[in-house]
Assembly symmetry: D2
Homo-oligomer: 254 residues x 4
Amino acid sequence: MKKLTVDLNCDLGESFGAYKMGQDDEILDHITSANIACGFHAGDPAIMKKTVKSALKKGVTIGAHPGFPDLQGFGRRIIAVRPEEAYDLVVYQIGALAAFAKSEGRKLAHVKPHGALYNMASVDSLLAEAIAEAVYKVDPELVFFGLAGSEMIKAGERIGLKTASEVFADRSYQSDGTLTLRRSAEALITDHNKAVDQVIKMVKEEKVISQQGLAVHIKAETISIHGDGPHALDFAVRVKNALIAEGVEIKAIR
Amino acid sequence: MKKLTVDLNCDLGESFGAYKMGQDDEILDHITSANIACGFHAGDPAIMKKTVKSALKKGVTIGAHPGFPDLQGFGRRIIAVRPEEAYDLVVYQIGALAAFAKSEGRKLAHVKPHGALYNMASVDSLLAEAIAEAVYKVDPELVFFGLAGSEMIKAGERIGLKTASEVFADRSYQSDGTLTLRRSAEALITDHNKAVDQVIKMVKEEKVISQQGLAVHIKAETISIHGDGPHALDFAVRVKNALIAEGVEIKAIR
Amino acid sequence: MKKLTVDLNCDLGESFGAYKMGQDDEILDHITSANIACGFHAGDPAIMKKTVKSALKKGVTIGAHPGFPDLQGFGRRIIAVRPEEAYDLVVYQIGALAAFAKSEGRKLAHVKPHGALYNMASVDSLLAEAIAEAVYKVDPELVFFGLAGSEMIKAGERIGLKTASEVFADRSYQSDGTLTLRRSAEALITDHNKAVDQVIKMVKEEKVISQQGLAVHIKAETISIHGDGPHALDFAVRVKNALIAEGVEIKAIR
Amino acid sequence: MKKLTVDLNCDLGESFGAYKMGQDDEILDHITSANIACGFHAGDPAIMKKTVKSALKKGVTIGAHPGFPDLQGFGRRIIAVRPEEAYDLVVYQIGALAAFAKSEGRKLAHVKPHGALYNMASVDSLLAEAIAEAVYKVDPELVFFGLAGSEMIKAGERIGLKTASEVFADRSYQSDGTLTLRRSAEALITDHNKAVDQVIKMVKEEKVISQQGLAVHIKAETISIHGDGPHALDFAVRVKNALIAEGVEIKAIR
């Protein structure tokens, strides 16, 4: 029997100039894929270089985490870009980060859109396809990370990219497989035991129990880990250990 | 006897968003190397893509034109960066532009720093070396364009890069081979005949008559062509035709 | 009988650094209110100072033209800000421009939101109210320019601001008084005679013939004049002269 | 005998978007003047509004803290601006902050340039005068904070502004009254007792013992307090208490 595997990914390199964010050094000990900010919604050239080096040193796979050009809004505000504009800003940001990888003799392994760009592309097939095309055109070997079951995954497959379906430990799901909206009181799973159980079920059974109580099919190839907040690190370690205890191997995609 | 050759380079892709600058389409018919702005002092992802495509379509060799992050100052204001900061911003910008080349199935051929970064690196060996190292680390095949006789050329050679010594048709030179400072009344050669004569002499004899009347050795591998201003295009054509009439072949470096 | 009056307003100061936009000097001879960009979607401190001085010198009333922090998109892209964020960015921009007025011994007379912020606030009462409140809090004497019949005008009145209902000469209207959407082929009135007739009717009869052929009530206190494009200046002069010929006085609000 | 008084000032509002910096709420309990960042080197419209409100609520006098447009460098990198460019960016930033004061029914009391702009203007009389003129033109009642004995203080006096001579508790001085350069090992006074003694001497005797052992005249009207770093708050409290114990009254200028 083939051993089950899953990737743990986390957004890194989100500091900017004199501003510090996240616990990058600590979290790097517990993840397999680092999504590195590319200077638009967070990160700057110096931070990008440092983060690429730290991740490579710890054997963590590196990828680009492109977002909207909105540092003040941290890339979380919707900006109504046309698909072509999204294509352009994704090509640009992947390239900028790839150069830091290349200057260290390495390559990027994946791309995961950030914040509002991720959310918008999850439901907008044209936007998702423009982003997927940007990824493919820069390097067809890149793995495209997107919300499990979303337009991003579909677009990546259409374009010919290897995709990685992302799931969340601490977010609840609806019966149609989408995430419960953030404005809902039940969006976040604050009980860590429940969150860990959800992750185990998603990885081992490819199922999640929706908020409505239904067992919904879900593909869990990579798990989103948070790097910020007081309990982020503890929770990351718990998720990792629980998966290992269940016999799941933690490793990067490909 | 080996035929004399020289490259004609011009800064392109300097528009930004709704703001138009330069006569890129026209000038592309007359140059062999395009230095494309990378979004810091000018240019944006959409402009970069468009400029890369236009240049490639017309058979013009493309290169990165990294500058300071100062759109308002058009990269012309000195920013006192440490060499390591210069390294970071050059890696970033080359990468961003290289991705647009790659998305078109092509590669960048050269790098030429812009504005204040160019001027500062011409006389600051540590800064020049940091920039040259950035270029080398991203791609050792890139040709490093710098002011003839400057610290940039020396740094590029130390690092192991192929370099291209740049000369100016319409700027006067001092007896030590440096450009006459802009604040001097004699900095610019406004007489087009004299400017054309100077270029021919530099390319054919590797000499320039300094403002003090001395014949100074100068290496002229690439000539800086301006793309903006009412007479820029006319002058570019004159320089090109005069060189061809003298039997000089106009072609990109390598 | 009280003489009919109308204001002619135009967006000015939209250059940025080395980038030129518009024909500010020429258009200032034909308008009564200048909406001056404040450095977010266009303009920079140097341009703002210059534009304030030019307008005051020609006796044109000056006002702030705040927009989204999106120079690349020229403030035309929707950014999904919360009303409080809009409040903040409007306070900031009015203040920045007001300081240039104050440094010339003068005051701002009005505020007109720009681009996507204008369009969004036209139909979103909460956003409109946040902007109107920002204007009021900075200076309750400021006149609030907004699309005739829109949520902006209503919000301005609720807050206690003097408002100015803006109309467009070259845009067609729907029977509910709204502008025909830009994506419609009939959005723009390209026939200058028709556009002039529409303006005259709006000012003299407070009516506009909708695209559906109905005579709709509309309040026309200020007319939007374009400062860019090859025919902008000609058209501005035609509109002005036609109004004067009809006995309408062209003067700033208040 | 007139009671001795001194002002304690601190840079505040240096957070940006999702990025937090400083312990503004705590430090506000111990200072009399808040220098609030204006969105160029730090701060954003939301942070500015919040900081203005917090300071006013605690009875702390508010002032503008304009800096270079260099968020990544936190305004600490030299940018070679012409005096007129400095004038423009100071007018802009004072105005932006003043609008938040005005929207709360209050006025700014002072202006203190930030970082590299402060350092450059301390020794460059033309730059200092351009900044002082900007302050005066926006509001001649504003107090101009500058390094004691520097070109800023001289320029402020020439222009007709009330000035406040700033001293540092934890920086050593040279016999010509200037600060020991940062790159010197003796630049910082790390012994808190010595630093407190220096401040007391400066305020009570208008003297500082230079690194060369001479008693040098110095005017101490406002003391720079740091709001960041692990011991900043403790040290601020110690300085304040020591001054009070010596009978010095802590209060804002004017």
